[in-house]
């Protein structure tokens, strides 16, 4: 039986699902990310913590293709996607749930969800919708309502559910707990844990470092556009620098 050369096979085994190497990007001439390297394995929950303006959103936008990389590479599922247009990245399963929810406000909840499944075979949409309604009861109850009329928490759930409709291979969540009341924050984190338990690969960007590190496998700390720390979430939690800067301890 033919088998690939050992090195190639090992590379295929060793390569993480999402492999970001020395990525730089920014806004026109203004650079916001420097040499960022991040690896995410299939099934992992990885978090990225960092303060205001650290570049977290910029990194996610560069991964999803909304912003072009100025240097470095993004490999996904063994392929170089650094120059792939954003809509094709989404179709390959890199699904970003943007900061600030950004539901399609004038459209109904159900239309938002259906559009989440835009890239999927249309025959699968019905079943996927039923799955989302089972997962998010509020959305089921309000499926005919205009998305812009939902509460902040419901809009966040809608944004996440819309992302899940695409059946993501990796879900990029940008500060899903932002601006929510403590009870809703609990709900968001519970949802993230539940998704991870069902096998979804997640890259979770948060300012709420404590909560994020509590549920993550591994974490990265971004400061002023550079990764300054990385490691297992448990060890970051006890890192002095993290404690001081992000955990308020």
């Amino acid at each position: 039986m033919w088998s690939p050369p050992t090195s190639a096979r090992e590379a295929a085994i060793a390569e993480p699902l999402l492999n970001v190497a020395e990525l730089s990007s920014g806004y026109g001439p203004v650079r916001a990310l420097w040499d960022v390297s991040v690896r995410i394995e299939e099934g992992e929950l990885v978090t990225l913590v960092g303060g205001n303006g650290a570049g977290k959103t910029t990194l996610l936008r560069t991964l999803s293709g909304l912003l072009p990389a100025s240097a470095g590479t993004i490999r996904f599922a063994g392929e170089d996607i650094t120059r792939l247009p954003a809509h094709l990245r989404a179709r390959r399963g890199i699904v970003q749930v943007p900061e600030g929810r950004q539901v399609l406000a004038p459209m109904t909840v159900e239309d938002n969800l259906r559009l989440g499944g835009y890239a999927r075979p249309q025959g699968e949409i019905g079943a996927a919708l039923a799955e989302m309604y089972a997962l998010f009861n509020d959305l089921r109850l309000r499926r005919r309502d205009i998305a812009g009329h939902l509460s902040g928490g419901q809009q966040q759930m809608l944004a996440i559910a819309r992302g899940l409709m695409a059946r993501p291979r990796v879900l990029l969540l940008d500060e899903p707990s932002m601006g929510l009341s403590p009870i809703l924050v609990d709900e968001v984190f519970a949802t993230v844990e539940r998704l991870r338990a069902s096998g979804t690969t997640i890259f979770l960007v948060e300012q709420n470092a404590y909560r994020a590190l509590s549920i993550a496998d591994r974490g990265y700390v971004l400061e002023a556009g550079r990764i300054i720390l990385e490691g297992p979430a448990a060890s970051l939690m006890v890192n002095d620098r993290v404690k001081e800067a992000y955990l308020g301890l």
Binding site: A90, G100, P106, M107, L115, G116, H149
Partner: protein
């Protein structure tokens, strides 16, 4: 109602329906790109003149009309591919200026093909006016109203019930989110030019039997269609139809009761008043949607 008034209303609604179709085109392209396509009126001109030539070449009238509209759609798609797509990284203002250039180019090209003569199409069915409460309606007016109504119904079905229609709405609402959903927003822009050209083309063949057609016919029609779109709330295709009817009727009443010298000024005054008094138009999106 006096016969005069009725007559003015009939005339206003007829021409207003065409302004509406042109206005819908403005709104659809605006939704896909924030661009105001000032070559919108030229679609009307190409369809009208194209159909006169096809008819003169001996084609059956219905075939000539269909082909005339089809050619217009192709021009719309070519305009997007050759003039807009290559410059799509540029600012919206640049793209708008490109459409102004394109409209001048299309008029120049049309003059080479068709000369500067006025041409007309025969009415679709009979020229025998229909009497209605002291006024008369040209059968072609009924074609205009019916054609507009069918176009609007089909368009609303397209937005309500098709995947491409929803993708277009999503792009209008938030182009970045549309990309994140896997929507090819460039394809949406291409489609919006095709639809805008289709509607302009339909308006062009519907109106040509009533008002003559010539290479500059799109200038005024385009501006009045723009006024219809602004009045209806730019980006609201169905508002544009109502806007078109309002412009058409106001214009007809002005021409009838004041002087036809002021007819074309009406649209400009309306644009100014709307922009100053209610910049979002009659049906524009409300500010302060929860985000």
């Amino acid at each position: 109602m006096s016969a005069d008034l009725l007559q003015f209303l009939v005339a206003g609604v007829t021409v207003g329906a065409c302004y509406g179709l042109v206005g819908v085109g403005f709104s659809i392209i605006y939704n896909a790109s924030q661009v105001i396509n000032f070559a919108q009126g030229e679609f009307v001109m190409i369809a009208g003149l194209g159909t006169t030539s096809l008819l003169a070449a001996g084609m059956p009238y219905a075939v000539a009309i269909a082909l005339g509209v089809l050619i217009t759609v192709l021009v719309g798609v070519a305009l997007e591919a050759l003039a807009i797509a290559p410059a799509r990284q540029s600012s919206v203002v640049t793209l708008i200026i490109i459409t102004v250039g394109a409209s001048i180019f299309l008029r120049g090209a049309a003059e080479l093909v068709w000369g500067r003569n006025f041409r007309s199409l025969p009415p679709f069915s009979g020229a025998e006016p229909i009497a209605l409460g002291g006024a008369v309606i040209q059968p072609q007016s009924l074609w205009v109203l019916g054609g507009t109504a069918i176009s609007v119904v089909l368009l609303s079905l397209f937005f309500a019930a098709t995947r491409s229609g929803k993708a277009m709405l999503a792009t209008a609402c938030n182009p970045n989110v549309a990309l994140l959903l896997g929507i090819d927003t460039r394809a949406v822009l291409r489609l919006s030019f095709a639809i805008a050209a289709l509607l302009g083309g339909i308006a062009g063949v519907l109106i040509a039997p009533i008002s003559l057609t010539y290479t500059d016919v799109g200038v005024m029609l385009g501006l009045k269609g723009f006024c219809a779109a602004i009045l209806g709330g730019l980006g609201n295709p169905f508002g544009a139809v109502v806007g078109g009817l309002i412009v058409g009727v106001t214009e007809a009443l002005t021409a009838g009761y004041l002087s036809s010298a002021y007819k074309d000024a009406v649209a400009f005054v309306m644009i100014l008043v709307v922009l100053i008094v209610m910049p979002r138009g009659l049906f524009g999106a409300k500010a302060g949607e929860r985000v």
